[in-house]
Every structure is written in C-alpha cells, then in structure tokens.
Symmetry: C2
C-alpha cells in the first residue's frame, strides 16, 4: 500500500482496545462510510456534549453532512467545534462458551477533526448531487432540483477523513482453552441491513429501475 | 399517560428541528433502546471529544454499558464525564418529488447525563445477566459464568434514561403542493435489520432453540 491508501494513526486514532482489530486500509474506511446512511456526531455546544445522528455521504476523502442553517449542530460545527464522527455497521452477535467471551462482529470508523462549511451555491449543489447519487444513481436528473431559497436555507459541511480509526471484527468466538470442551453452543448470530419492498406514494408515475430492483 | 410514562423535555432534550416528530412516550424510548444492540456515546477526555460505539442494554429506567477497566471511555465516564448517548434505528429512505424534500424514516433516542459505576460483584453480575438475557433468554444458564478475575477486570456503568429526546419519523414523502403533479417517483425505500443463518463454531453441542429460530 502507498501512503494514500494507509491510515496514519494519531494519538486520538491509535486503537488501544483490541489493537489487533485495527484496520489501516483506506479502502475499508471508504467502504464503511459508503455502506452506512447515518453517522453519529459528537460535539460540544455551550456546556453540553451532544451525540446526534445525521445522514452522511462521501466525496473523495471528505465526509459530508447537511442540515438547516438554524440547527444547533450545524451552528456549532460551522463555528469550528471539535467533532468526532462515528459510523458503525453491526454484522452479528458472537456467542462464546463463557459469558465474558461474548462479543460482536462489526465494522466501525471514528473520524476526528473540524467541519468546514461548503460555500457557494454551485459547490453546495454539486455536493448535494452526490448525496442524491448515493440514494440512487440517476435520481438527481429526475427530482425537481433545489431552488435558490432552498439552497440558501441549507448548510452543507464537510470533514476530512484524514484522521480516522477503523476497527473491524469479523471472527468466530474466541474461548479460552479450558472452556472449549464445554457443551455450550458457540458461534455467530448474523445481523444485516436488508431492503424491503418499496412503498409507492404516487401510482401514476413510472417506476424507475432503482426502485424496482431495491428489495433484496 | 401518567408522569411515569411521559418524557419531560429539558433545555437539552427539547426538539427544535421538526418538533412534530418529537415523541413523548417512555414506552417508545424503551423500545428503541431494546431494539438496538449498539449505541454511540459522546464524551470529552482531555482536549478531545469522542464518539464511540458500544453494546448497551436496559434494566428498568437505566441504560447499561460495560468494558475493560482500562478503556479510555470507561475511565472518562467512570470519572463523571458529561455524556450523550444516541441510539438510531434507520427504517427507510424517503424519496420525494423535489430534491430538498428527500428524508429518512427512523427512530432515535438521545440521552443526556452522567454514568455511574455499578459497584459490587453481585450487582455487576446481575447487570451482566441482563445483557445475556437480551442476547438470548436462557443463555445465562448455559454459558460458563464469569469468574472473579473476569468480573474484576470489567466495569459496568449505567445512565438514567430520565433525560432523553425521542424522535420518530414514519411517514410518506411530504412535497410542496406545486411539486405534487411532477412525474417523479416518490415513496419509501425501506431498510431493516434482519437476522441471518447462524454459523456454528462447534458441531458437537446441542443447538438451542434461540439459535434454531434466530434467522428471519
């Protein structure tokens, strides 16, 4: 791997607990960011520490969010609050023969830094087009585009993915040798996100392929 | 609803964005906490703000977490750091006829407060039994119980669910009147967490019903 594809740990992103699960591949970071629709953002506003879920998307090495100009989170992050963004995909429960060896399989990314405000209508629209592309390729050419009023009322923010900790657990239960002979079921109970049958709001319009092919 | 079942908003949990989505029913809060296996916790440690995913469970009106005594998060939260705990269940993408009216259906809870350390081996074990019950009823009578060394190395923390903001979005797209006639597909693309076929680590032990019946 060259420098571009490797995550270089800082004091905040060095994985201390179970360091063997640290993943230093930037492609894995991108996959986690792209596979999830929602991230959680930690930030301080006044006296309070907040953890707020929001939709996110990625362009290159930046993670994007958007929101109403007036929202508490958008105001704090636009003002340069230190932020931590976490994305977690849970893949299963890992049941071991001993109670304390139970664990989970997951892929997670925790990003540190400050958001910057995306300025200019054209740049904001380009960023928001990428969100539409994440929902469904082609959809941005179908939906009615944002007008000046809508664009002005919305803030688009981005944070670099440069400082990120990626952790992947994808394994069978790990019991101590002395527990292996116990007659206790051990294994993985998988969990996954699946797509359900689309619900149509308007029966009088053509159904695009990305809707027809949505459900698993 | 009596006082016990109603969430009383504080300055931190008053829902400012889309207040019509605020949900003041404590039963809904409990359902969100119980339906999710992983929460995200925001807290400060030194100069840094962190957002860290971890497993959680509920007993009564408290949310519980556990972890190694040495973990940065456990140390900060045990020392009384202000915390915000977010749990989000994503139910679907909501596609509207206009780009800016796209949204998501979700159920989310954001809890504020400070964690307290659960003291005493018996009380810790009782709390951890409840985690095992969440994974599978009956499992705590099968797995090898924790021994003194394991229990001593693990911290169990709880935070009251008293100060919580619950937000539920469960609706069809909401377009402006002037957009409703557009020939653009609108509706819901559902997402859900489903259970996959269990993976057995040991073929020589009986398969419990909660494993046999796990997959959807």
């Amino acid at each position: 791997m060259n420098d571009q594809t490797v995550l270089s740990p800082t004091s905040r992103t060095t994985i201390r607990r179970l360091p063997e699960l640290a993943h230093r591949d930037r492609a894995m970071l991108y996959r986690i960011v792209d596979d999830a629709y929602v991230c959680h953002i930690a930030f301080n506003a006044g006296e309070d520490t907040h953890c707020i879920p929001t939709a996110h998307w990625r362009r290159g090495d930046d993670l994007y969010i958007h929101g109403s100009n007036g929202s508490r989170m958008i105001k704090a992050l636009s003002a340069g609050a230190q932020a931590s963004v976490a994305i977690t995909l849970l893949d299963g429960l890992v049941l071991a023969k001993s109670a304390f060896s139970h664990s989970m399989n997951y892929r997670s990314a925790v990003i540190y830094g400050q958001f910057e405000v995306v300025e200019g209508s054209a740049e904001k629209l380009a960023a928001l087009d990428a969100l539409m592309d994440k929902i469904a390729a082609g959809r941005r050419h179908e939906a009615r585009p944002g007008n000046a009023k809508e664009i002005n009322a919305t803030s688009v923010l981005r944070i670099s993915l440069a400082e990120a900790a990626v952790k992947v657990s994808d394994s069978m239960p790990s019991d101590k040798d002395e527990d292996l002979a116990l007659a206790v079921w051990a294994g993985i109970l998988p969990l996954k996100t699946t797509r359900g049958t689309p619900v149509h709001a308007d029966a009088n319009v053509p159904v695009p392929d990305y809707v027809r092919n949505w459900a698993d």
